[in-house]
């Protein structure tokens, strides 16, 4: 057991700190939402790539910094930017999901055309995976694409599409081989969002905000060369990026921040609001124990990745545990506020403009999104613990 990073990495940490000290004032303000990228965001992204703190491991010919992948360096950058509360540059599904996918499966032409503007924050993407009829059973998706000469013609209906309005392009899973089995009949396409036949409708959430959209596609024509990988390979390609998303959801950095905020809320709560720390100390310590366990579990999983070891089933639990824990932290903060905990944004007396209620609901969305908690339990038990799949129910049984 050794939790130190060693001198080489401590030197690297010092470099990051010094960069932040010199440049942090040029960074755009941090926001939760990914919005259309302003010039300020694009400029900051350029600065970060030049210094090697964004697109770090993307090859130079595709607009990145071109460093060898190094998990600890990536972690140190994240830790220092987060400690300094400075934006780590452009985010979004293009950078986190599409770029790694193209680098692995894309043609040379696709990589040169799409990766540079995406990492430069000039081109924003949205994801077209889920459908009204295909949620947990994503592979049953029915949006079709048929080849007509040099063009794919897409018809269907996607849902849970964040940033659909702002995005210039969408990466989409479509059924191209209706005769093949459900996992083998799917292909991965790239769609320009300005193509005629695309209609976007905002989807209002229980929080009152519209963080997602529905996207309707009617006879949408895209060039034949916008296929990524082979026909029928789309499920395999799309699945790779989903694993990445699940490791991100429920990460312990977010939990630690929320726990610190919760502690602050409880400490500030007056007797009138429910007694704060004294009354709720037991629950706070329960949550802290769970959070600590997830924190050190994260270090254990990081070690497995550093050593190239497969963590097995133990690597599948982050999303399930982390999202529920975050939701429970919000619940405690709301209880700490007693009646004031009901107040929502815009209300007189609302504490932090009702932020805890919004987070509480948002974190419930996180428990459901990216593969519901119940789907996570299926994955853990079937893939992790080797338990058999539920037999298919037959009609009339």
């Amino acid at each position: 057991m050794d939790l130190s990073y060693g001198p080489r990495y401590e030197d690297f940490r010092a470099e990051v700190k010094s960069f932040l000290a010199d440049n942090a004032d040029r960074a755009p303000r941090m926001t939760m939402r990914v919005v259309e990228h302003s010039q300020e965001v694009v400029d900051w992204q350029k600065t970060l790539i030049e210094a090697g703190y964004a697109a770090r491991t993307i090859p130079r010919e595709y607009g990145g910094y071109g460093a060898e992948p190094d998990l600890l360096e990536t972690m140190i950058i994240a830790e220092e930017f987060s400690a300094a509360r400075v934006s780590q540059g452009a985010a979004g599904q293009g950078i986190s999901m599409l770029v790694p996918t193209l680098l692995e499966y894309g043609s040379e032409e696709q990589k040169r055309r799409y990766v540079p503007p995406t990492v430069n924050a000039e081109l924003l993407w949205c994801q077209g995976y889920s459908e009204p009829g295909s949620g947990s059973d994503l592979a049953s998706l029915s949006t079709r694409a048929e080849l007509d000469g040099d063009q794919w013609v897409i018809n269907g209906h996607k849902i849970w599409t964040s940033t659909a309005v702002e995005a210039g392009m969408m990466f989409i899973l479509v059924r191209t081989e209706p005769e093949a089995s459900k996992h083998r009949g799917i292909s991965y396409l790239l769609v320009d969002m300005d193509t005629p036949g695309i209609e976007i409708r905002p989807l209002r959430m229980m929080t009152g905000s519209s963080d997602f959209n529905e996207v309707f596609l009617e006879d949408v024509r895209v060039p034949r060369e916008n296929l990524v990988g082979e026909r029928g390979q789309g499920w395999q390609i799309g699945k790779t990026t989903l694993v990445h998303e699940r490791n991100f959801l429920g990460s312990s950095a977010l939990t630690e921040g929320m726990l610190a905020a919760c502690r602050k809320t409880l400490a500030a709560a007056t007797d009138e609001q429910g007694g704060g720390n004294l009354v709720h100390g037991d629950r706070l310590m329960q949550l802290e124990g769970r959070a600590l366990a997830m924190k050190y579990h994260g270090l254990r999983m990081l070690t497995d990745r550093l050593k190239g070891r497969n963590p097995g089933a133990a690597g599948l639990i982050t999303k399930l545990n982390g999202c529920q824990l975050n939701n429970d932290i919000c619940s405690l903060a709301i209880d700490g506020l007693a009646d004031y905990g009901i107040l929502y944004r815009g209300s007189p007396h609302a504490v932090d403009d009702g932020a805890w209620q919004k987070q509480y609901m948002f974190q419930l969305g996180m428990i459901i999104g990216g593969g519901t908690a119940q789907i996570q339990k299926n994955i853990i038990s079937e893939r992790g613990l080797g338990m058999p799949r539920e037999p298919r129910a037959t009609a009339g049984s």
Binding site: Q286, G289, L292, A293, A314, K377, S381, L385, M387
Partner: protein, 359 residues
Amino acid sequence: MDFGLSPEQELLRDSLRGWLADELSIERVRETLDNGDAGAASRTAGDASAMQGLAGQGVLGVMLPEEHGGAGLGLLDAVVVATEMGRALTTVSYHSACVSAPLLLAGAGSAEQKSSWLPGVSSGKLLLSFAVGELEERDGALTGELRFVPDTATADAFVVVSGNGSEARAWLVERNAAGLQARDYHNIDITRQLGELQLSDTPAEALAESDELAGLVARVSDAARVVLAADSFGACERALEEAIEYAGVREQFGRVVASFQAVKHMCAETFAELEPLRSLGWYAAFAWDEQRDDAARTVALLKAHSAEVSTRSVMTTTQVYGGMGFTWECNQQLWFKRVGYNRQALGGPVAERARALSL
């Protein structure tokens, strides 16, 4: 950055697991428990050959100084051992016999006390136990009652502590000392014996008086808490493995019950809680070994978290068996009770969280 067990610790785990399966299997533990009465003679702790076997595996003196026959290793190594003992239901009060009692002696005993007792602990020839209570001392003799003392029936000597802060004092009381009476409890966990001691003008050898004694007592008690948490983890880990195996062969409604989501989700939830508990246990041991600033608080949070998770875990895995789970024959009951003991001993979850709040 290397969070986890070293290759040596993994080797220790694997070899001890193999040895316990061959020499001290649950079947053998069950034979001694089922045949014996509630008394001590049936306990493995009183089984000289088993103790010497464990000594041969180098696990009794893991944390003791090398000059006294120990391995000179840390709490993380003891956690590896305790996890295996929890899995195998080894009938040893490891937290007291091999951790708190000898460590307090090693830290505060005289050279002579150490050389007379510690080598015997490592070799399995002498059994120590640890007790805390309110005692009166008069002319080197102690009077009072000590409750919840492990191995009262078999220990050769007791390391006893009385008083707090700068008033804390510690002694070594030998089993055959005049005026010492032991009484056996019937505790839920039949794999570890617990009882109480009555001392009336019982001669005792004082350990060194020091302002640091209270701190040392707190530290060895923390080590014992981490070991109890590891024991519970091991118990739950194996209980889950066996439950999954059983669910894979038990058929109802024409299919194995492991194929029902209701059963799978019970197992997945349990697994998802146990793995982070393992990680937290490793960190707490590491923090204790390195004397990190957050060690004491982490131990309190671990002890509380372990209690909650382990109780839920073994409640769940027992239910996987349906009615079978409620029988004496099913091993789940043994882990259930082991966890029940570990939960209360040295601080239950609410008490430990209150302690964490104050640390």
